[in-house]
Subunit: 347 residues, 4 copies
């Protein structure tokens, strides 16, 4: 089969690889019909994720069709259409039992990381019964690709952890795909204001189309001052960090109202300064989270009942065979305006 | 009347002051029967709390007897025995309606800070109906002095924010009066382990008597290593910071289990380093809080039903007239082993 | 002034009454600008509410302008535009401190019940600081009349108690004004389906316009069978009872999914049969509640940010002087299709 | 092997049966070391549980040693000591993912009910990875037998559903083994009062030894009147129904405070009268639940850290070979004072 293989920093090839086979009774083999590229894949290609070894097939998102199942798999059979979760859950460890699939001692984020991933014609999914989701008949499968990772990430790490409520005020720092996923899913709870902060005018204009009530270009405006004006000088109830750098986390600390929550989504490469000398008395909550995909069943229902239009995040379509071009487009997001790209298999 | 008056850094006098009078219809005048000294009072005397002006009567804890009430006060009448909350709550602002009395726009922590306090023979309490609590007949009033500040602070900021649960593991960094108050109230929820960390052997030994399951002298042992041993190498579910310096907050970050909560109680004078490069993916919650005293009714019930022996925190008794000596004893806590001191009025 | 006065079952008069005056320091006198009629007022006029005595001015909803305040009132001053809550909250009793204003020992539902109400040119509001809400500039005051009672009732008793969630399924039994208020506010949480059940085709058609995903005319269809079809034979996650008769509560028991919640709003005049022999093992929750109006600040934000169009509930407008005709229209709701009626003062 | 086999109402035999074998890859065979008898077993023997067929081995509680595992089982291996949950959880269905193991579409309560159970020398456990729990070294295995069913039932259905809190008041109607299990686990949360109600003086006296603060013999005292006296005329915050008859559920309705919770544990054979005409406005919650055993890991920690002495429930010990005598003792609980009986295997 064809697959996108990592060969060290900056090097990837779309090449022939052996088709995966069942290794354990709990495995399933999935024929990929649609996959996509994540910002994390770009980090891997920069060499930032040290435990991805050369020869690894990348990708942790996608939908497909069950090709084969191990004998302990009972939820799925050959021919079933399935959504692949970016998080593999064994459903039997202490973390899975608590709903913290991200910390599964037998799984977690392993696809396209510690085992071969979904940017290929076939993929092996361990613990298939608890790591795949059946696709209801009549679903829009392009939309469902957004449920492998980006939508649950924005929702769980940003919206749920951030305790967005009817009538509350929300600021989202970073209008990239993840920030926009938080924006889309924050609207499940009818906050009175959602303020998007970025320096990319295209993304801010998309944010307005996606339901933001206000946008701030932090290079052109004083973000703190404007948010204080918009919130009657109290700050926001929820600040969602969707970038992963010290400056954006610092901004969140400056705009959070007493009693508010800073929900971190960003992947941080270094420590940040926490202003406890100001925040110790302000009744603040700060949360971090790696997506658990525990809300996938909920999100499936909201997508299929049209409470959220997940397809809005898709800007480009490519054939899976053209994945190298798709990476180019995704890497040059500023000029191509790419958010999420659907890669369709020709099989 | 006699009162303890602040005259700038390092200067205090027990001297005659005019007896307070009703200024607003919602005020009450309380004759103090018992009061105590808080670590915060020492901070004020060091000059650390800039908005305390010279001439201010200190103190924000105590019990007493209603002497006089403004005409809008309906919950209390002359002669009633009352507990004074360290937090004044107007009960009508946006924060009070949310239970965040600490941020009351008309009150909050003002006693012995922005208005005259309780280390005196009489004190004026604004918004008396919502800032005083009736003392049930037969209560031990020494114990109830612990409910003005220290017990709700340990409970709300440490135990409730820290989400202590049956069977969970708790570490408390700092075995001073506040850390010990967290230790006492954490036991309401039957955690399986409570580990106290300090360098003062006397306080660690008190912690064991108060119900700690393990103690660590951080000057003699490697705290992180020992906690990892005690927790099967996962860390604790709840880490309570009860000191207020960067090193103790750093320790909390090193010992928190995935999915755990760091509950800050300490008053911090400078910023700390937050290791988001490690914690971003660990599903951690960090909370800060100034005590709201919203749990005072609950704590009254637990004290009176003997679910917690709040008197354990009391090490010394003085006459209110000897408050200067009491401050000496409290300041030299290492040698005097003072935790909380009861000052009894002779009136 | 003019007022609508109750004179025993079936008897009411729009007549001259003395203008109310401040009786306590915490009172305010409000000049009514808009009020409305509640189904409860009809119950009173039938003689169903025994503790309403002859001579009582009816009405517990409305907006107005502060005319005078007692000296302990600090949140409001003459000339302020205010929303009147149907629930009077003293903010200082054990229930108010818990957010259960409905059970306020000094207030609760007293307006137009135990003290004179809002269907008059002026009304005295006890505990004005905690029973009135300031109206933000630019608000649509017709919409805000819906916040005195009907919107918080549908939201608190039905939607919040019923734990409506993104993607969940909801059935509302009864499409009268209260059921429709639950329908409007349920959408704050983006459930995947909201099924309205009634026998009045006009109200079912309004429900569809208001956002119901399905309607059932229980006289023409088998409600249980249809709901089971719509929910894949599991039942609904939330069943909201908005009628107050045994049959509608029975229906809720028949359609609730395992793990679901039956939230009762209806005012019941007799006991009902609870099928514990079936439900004991089904992990069901049943809730009852008299509206607390604790969510009024939240609802003000959602109305003013256009997350809910509360004006949709208004079908008729009358002058306050024509209140007798307005009652006629409201009583004959089946033919007049009345939901909520705005009564505008001519003052 | 030897097993206790049901042969229709009133008939049971301790006889030879074939040893169970692995049927599916997710199965394990457990050699029983300790088991016990449940009130439910008596119901089955009365013929009350229609779907138990003749030839069925009874029993759904116990601890044992893994004899053999299917090839998909990864958490356990031959020789491991394990706790058997009364609820079988597949960990992959919609209910298991929500923590509602009791409603598992592939499991739930099936042991000694729809498949052969634990009152035997060996038992087959389906979905072993998620239906067994490893026993920590040094555990008291007699105590752990209480964790198969009775302790999680009292805790989940009574205490957790009943929202017992520090300082709150609790009434438990029924002082049988289940009511006593609720009593033991309610103390995890330090309520200020726990009132036990029964007519059996022996059980009431045991309740006092187990930590009840008050007892009421409902045949000798007016339960409602006494509870109102004990609670300052407001009723209890939590009422736990642990009998399963209309009279005890009626009592719960009469003693519940506004804002309180009635948590049903009892297995009801007929419907009850629900006084909505009184309760509709009292902000009450009523819950039902079949034990999910989702708290087994928590309970293991509380037992092993000695926060609860589960062995207190054990009154008698028999050899498993003497199970017929043990049933006699258990059936005549009034005279034998039996609560829980440990049956030790001789293997």
């Amino acid at each position: 089969m064809k697959a996108l293989v990592y060969y060290g920093p900056g090097k990837k090839k779309w090449e022939d690889k052996p088709q995966p086979t069942i290794l354990k009774a709990t495995d399933a083999i999935i024929r990929i019909t649609k996959t996509t590229i994540c910002g994390t894949d770009l980090h891997i290609l920069k060499g930032d994720v040290a435990d991805v070894t050369e020869g690894r097939i990348l990708g942790h998102e996608g939908v497909g069709i069950v090709e084969e199942t191990g004998e302990a798999v009972t939820n799925f059979k050959k021919g079933d259409r399935v959504l692949i979760s970016c998080i593999t859950s064994c459903a039997r460890c202490v973390y899975c039992k608590k709903g913290m699939y991200s910390h599964c001692v037998n799984g977690g984020w392993i696809l396209g990381h510690l085992i071969d991933g979904t940017q290929a014609e076939f993929v092996r999914i361990p613990y298939a019964d608890s790591s795949l989701y059946p696709i209801p008949a009549g679903s829009d499968e392009d939309a469902l690709v957004m449920l492998s990772d980006i939508l649950p990430t924005g929702f769980e790490c940003g919206v749920l952890n951030g305790k967005v409520q009817p009538g509350s005020t929300v600021a989202i720092v970073g209008a990239g795909p993840i920030g926009l996923a938080a924006l889309l899913t924050a609207q499940f709870y009818s906050p009175s204001a959602i303020i998007m902060i970025d320096s990319n005018e295209n993304r801010l204009s998309i944010a307005l189309q996606f339901g933001a009530t206000h946008t701030i270009n932090y290079e052109q405006e004083n973000s703190v001052q404007k948010i204080m004006e918009l919130t009657g000088n109290t700050g926001v109830d929820t600040a969602i960090e969707a970038v992963g750098v010290p400056a954006s986390f610092a901004l969140c600390q400056s705009i959070i109202a007493p009693g508010g929550t800073i929900a971190n989504i960003g992947v941080h490469g270094k420590s940040v300064e926490l202003h406890l000398e100001q925040l110790w008395s302000r009744n603040i909550t700060i949360t971090t989270r790696l997506v658990d995909t525990v809300t996938t069943p909920l999100l499936l229902k909201t997508v299929n009942s049209k409470k959220v239009d997940a397809k809005k995040l898709i800007t480009h379509y490519f054939s899976l065979n053209d994945i190298i071009s798709a990476y180019d487009t995704f890497e040059k997001a500023t000029s191509t305006k790419a958010l999420k790209i659907i890669l369709n298999s020709d099989l």
